[in-house]
Symmetry: none
Subunit: 419 residues, 2 copies
């Protein structure tokens, strides 16, 4: 069973709206075990919409059209579908009454063009779920099917979940369950991960179940997604657990979390369990670490606070670290210790680097020093981070938190590896 998506709207082509609908639909189709090979965006032009639908129907068993079901003259998806079906339109009185009622119940006057939404291509049926004024459509075309849903996300979601996905699975005769788990990694490049897992992935290819995919996500690290299919929930859970164990055996502590976990959520969880508290002095990262940690721990139970020490005079005045020392290994150690004392926490962290000498040395690149003070033990890790200033700032935070994570998990200092 193949299904593709045609997203309709000139505003999508102009970049005024980002087409998150197709992405969401694509994810649902994948999770339902339905193949999807193409997604198309087309503007509000009748001939081009018709052409896109016909092309999609020629190469897939089902097509989902998203958008263009509104009341204005620009909304011509209904007309395009009628043309593809080779039929006229008929007004459904029950839909017209429903639309009238929605306006009346909001105390609003209904403009007549709203009744266009009650026009349905002859032979099409409407989708029962209808959270807004626009009805969705189910249109049989030969032995294939075309669905039309509004572009308003919550209306589209309701129709997809309530009607279209179950209908597609029924048509496909799918009885199997698909699930996935994402292992989140930090420290290896995508090509290095691919190399490490290559023998394993080759072995999987014979069965095609489970599958493994890589997803480079910038400062969120590189995700390794395991997807499996089985007859029931228990079967798919077993397949994924088995596969996860094998991947973890290869990647070890490069895996920092799963699914929705982030580097900061993992670090905070570790510290919460240990009953320890954290503070940070940010020079390189300028508040990014504080912002990420406080988002998950706003009450300051673990993350007591951060000091963004942009000016040398502040580092000297508040933390007693000589301004001239910024951007050195010694400064990272001194800042981590000083911020720990300043906030009275168990652990103190710090980011600083050669790039913080920007105005002095005229450089924005160079080595970054990540300081970690745990009790009286102070460790400084030296890393070279890729990219522009913005990326160096962000990478410094994740690298630092990863160093702390490794220290907490392994109870010894493990170096960062390649990025």
């Amino acid at each position: 069973m193949r299904c593709e998506v045609v997203a309709i709207g000139t505003e999508l082509l102009l970049g005024q709206i980002i087409d998150t609908n197709s992405s969401w639909i694509g994810e649902q189709l994948a999770m339902a075990g339905i193949d999807s090979h193409f997604q198309t965006k087309v503007g509000d032009n009748l001939q081009r919409i018709i052409g896109s639908i016909e092309l999609a129907l020629s190469r897939s068993d089902a097509v989902i059209c998203c958008g263009g079901l509104g009341p204005t003259q620009d909304d011509i998806t209904r007309e395009a579908i009628a043309s593809v079906m080779g039929v006229g339109m008929e007004r459904h009185d029950d839909i017209a009454a429903r639309i009238r009622h929605i306006f009346e119940s909001r105390g609003r006057v209904m403009a007549d063009n709203n009744l266009r939404q009650a026009d349905v291509p002859i032979g099409a049926s409407t989708i029962p779920d209808q959270p807004g004024t626009a009805p969705g459509l189910i249109c049989p075309i030969g032995d294939k099917v075309l669905y039309a849903v509004p572009g308003v996300p919550y209306e589209m979601h309701a129709m997809m979940n309530g009607t279209i996905l179950p209908d597609l699975k029924r048509r496909a005769g799918l009885s199997s369950v698909i699930a996935s788990r994402t292992l989140r990694t930090w420290g290896h490049s995508e090509s290095r991960l691919a190399e490490l897992l290559a023998p394993h992935i080759d072995a999987l290819e014979a069965s095609g179940n489970p599958t493994i995919a890589f997803l480079a996500s910038g400062i969120e690290g590189i995700k390794v997604r395991i997807t499996a299919k089985a007859a029931d929930e228990a079967g798919v859970a077993a397949l994924i657990a088995e596969e996860e164990a094998r991947v973890r055996e290869v990647l070890g502590h490069y895996v920092f979390g799963i699914d929705d976990q982030t580097m900061e959520s993992v670090v905070l969880d570790h510290l919460r369990k240990r009953g320890e508290t954290l503070a940070i002095a940010e020079v390189t990262s300028g508040g990014i670490a504080s912002q990420r940690l406080s988002a998950l721990d706003g009450d300051g139970v673990v993350f007591r606070g951060g000091l963004v020490a942009s000016a040398g005079s502040v580092r000297e005045r508040v933390l007693g670290v000589p301004a001239a020392k910024v951007g050195t290994r010694e400064a990272a150690a001194a800042l981590a210790s000083a911020v720990r004392a300043h906030f009275g926490t168990d652990i103190g962290l710090a980011t600083t680097g050669e790039h913080d000498l920007g105005r002095i040395a005229g450089t924005n690149a160079g080595t970054t020093y990540l300081g970690i003070a745990i009790g009286d033990e102070v460790k400084v890790e030296e890393v070279r981070l890729p990219g522009d200033r913005k990326r160096v700032r962000e990478f410094s935070v994740i690298s630092l938190l990863n160093s702390l994570r490794l220290r907490l998990e392994l109870d010894s200092w493990a170096p960062q590896r390649d990025f």
Copy 2:
């Protein structure tokens, strides 16, 4: 001149990544006066990529392929293009050397498959802008042209701006100049802005030049974009200047900046001119203000530093503000004054609110207090911000900076208006 976009990557179809690249490219094409009728997403499948490129070339004069230029076996855009061109590939030694150098300069070992990025279809040339390891490609195909760019946004942006857009405009022989200016506003809702500018927009509709569009951008405020067309740069500049003056007359100080200016860049510019310095105590905003300000002033010339005071004990210990007072008007005033003294700056700012009592009062909503201390003058503004915790955190920063901006620009305290 018609140009369409083919975005390549199975992860796009699976919804693991949202295709913001095509949207961005679509916007740039529109602004350059180049028509774009279709955008296609296709997975990492050679035949389907070839088919999508051929279809796009059949209906447009130029095609931009985005993604699939990486080093792994999944990255097959190069091979697909060579097939469409009917040529083989050759390895460019200069690119190979460059890739080797990038790895070496980061002290990393290069996996051999990275050299795949140095393979170029015969007859194609490479795009000079190359911020990452993947070179972009310019491929002549008959009298048409195909560009290939990496899916990494900042690499793609550099190639689009540096090479592809100028090349497309040259090929299109575009003689009229299109330009736009964005007026950035804060304080009015989109519907209120539309209401205020309605008579003016109605008057513009007759000529259709210039045009005005609204773009709601969350914590970046609401953008009012003026777009104009004329025979030359001088003509278009005059049209835009005239229109900008008219819009500003209606919106006054609700306009905080233009184009790439942000609320923080405007505030920093004001303070730089005045030779004044700034510090902030962040409770509600947890580091977001520090991060935004330090991104533009990392050396701390104006923004001396920030204190993220998540824990009550930190506020008491470091700033001497009683923990019990958090989330009140008095706390906002005390924090702004104390952080000003702590960092030794001209101006002290603070964010706190009822939601900071989350654990105590069981609420995440409520009034936010924004403190501003200028010398011995202390002002607290009370705002009710919409949305969940994440949005309240972000809105508190922009509201606070906007209050400071109005104070600096008007030399008196102007209240925030509707949100």
